[in-house]
Amino acid sequence: MTGLSIVGIGSTTFARHEGRTAVSLAAEAGIQALRESGLDAEHIGALYLGNFISGFLTGQEVLAGLTADRMSLGAIPATKVEGACASGGIAFRHACMAVASGQCEAAIAIGVEKMSHAGTATVTQGLNCALDHEADAASGLTYPGLFALVWQAHAARYGTTREEVSAVVKKNRRNGLANPLASMGANLSDSDIEGAPVIADPLTLYDCCPISDGAAAVIVTRDDLARQSSATAIRVRASAQTSGRPGLAAHPDLCGFAATSAAAHRAFADARLAPADIDLIELHDCFSIAEIVDIEDLGFMPKGHGGAWAREGRTAVGGDLPVNPSGGLEAKGHPVGATGIGQIYEVVCQLRGDHANQVEGARLGLTHNLGGTGVACTVNILERTS
């Protein structure tokens, strides 16, 4: 896809939003993005909404149509897409395709989730909707359990240590302190992390992203319309989506996710770029070990080297390759359907040069959004052109 730009962004905080509905959160982010773009609402020809389990947790469906109505967008097509935790990234790619195909000159992608009103066991049951129920759910597997298994397999093969995984937690929680959208920023010590309650051995509470509410939105346009926008346009160099085998036992070695490798390969090929060109990454650290696995799967270093990069500070802001300068899912929270759009929001801020944890001179940024047991993945590459 060529000739596409992001011209407006909006986001609620990722936090507990008591008394709010998913639709009100989605509309708040969407209106913010539309106002920031300076475009008239008449330019918006389609709405794509990423959401995973708000139907299960709140009983409310048709979120796309309700959000379009709340935003007074008229009779435009409004479509909900679902790919577990990758729902937001998939919504963005569909907005890009709607504009690239000529169906409309601008489209809005919104991601939203409302989770915090439900208890942890119920949220866990909701997230388990993304497991393959024929193959895995009967075993009592949970998502913390999945990433605990990944950690044990990765450690057995590559020697990945608690210290290396804790380096990810400390970096992301620290990055979150400066991010006004992040609710879980903190200065944590190794003993804080190791002494926290165990969720699924060896994952402790601080290895897991918090249950959150929130919404994020971006507006995609043709480049020519982007020049009419009052906001600094950021070009979409690539937007790739892949599928992977959903069953736990279908992953050849449990040390990585094939959907991530395939999406990165496709995105770099489409953009005619290589990992060395990228200035910063916002990736899917739903659990601390996931950041190490993901950055390897994306092709930034050989398998087994991600832990050392974290330990040596190479993924910090100011390091060789800043990863999750926003604080990531661990410090921001993970309102599941919103996360993929929230990552794009953060990278757009970086490429405009106005992020709270600014990566100096950032020109190319990558986002990575992974759904379920690696069943869906999106990778986007964005560029500052001015």
């Binding site: 913390p144 298994l149 397999a153 057995a156 699924a200 051995d201």
Partner: protein, 117 residues
């Protein structure tokens, strides 16, 4: 849920009769060659631990109360299969195990030496 002894201590697997690829859950078409000639076979349920954990915060829909030991076993036939461990403790990767029981449809694996004792 109580641990029930298996009538026959074995596990169902699905084999493509076209290319012999194996799967540990039902498939409609072979993932390797897309053949629809899939037959159910039986594994004696011997293998090694590929990874394990203890689930301490189960889903509201879980049939087993936590904490419980959960594992993925690489069967001698080469495929992975999820299962339970007899106690809420992890087992090192590579530990030889065999199926000893079943909780509902879920196989329970234990050390090969203690299982044969």
């Amino acid at each position: 849920m109580s641990i029930l002894p298996l009538p026959a201590k074995d596990l169902p697997l699905w084999r493509c009769t076209g290319c012999d690829a194996l799967a540990s859950s039902p498939v409609s078409l072979c993932p390797a060659c897309r053949s629809d000639c899939i037959s159910e076979i039986r594994s004696p349920g011997n293998g090694t631990v590929a990874a394990s954990t203890v689930i301490r915060r189960p889903s509201a829909a879980a049939v087993v109360e936590g904490p419980f030991g959960l594992c993925v076993v690489r069967l001698d036939e080469g495929v992975l299969v999820p299962g339970h461990l007899p106690s809420p403790e992890t087992m090192p990767v590579g530990t030889p195990v065999r199926i000893v029981a079943r909780r509902g449809a879920v196989p329970v694996f234990d050390l090969q030496e203690s299982a044969s004792a």
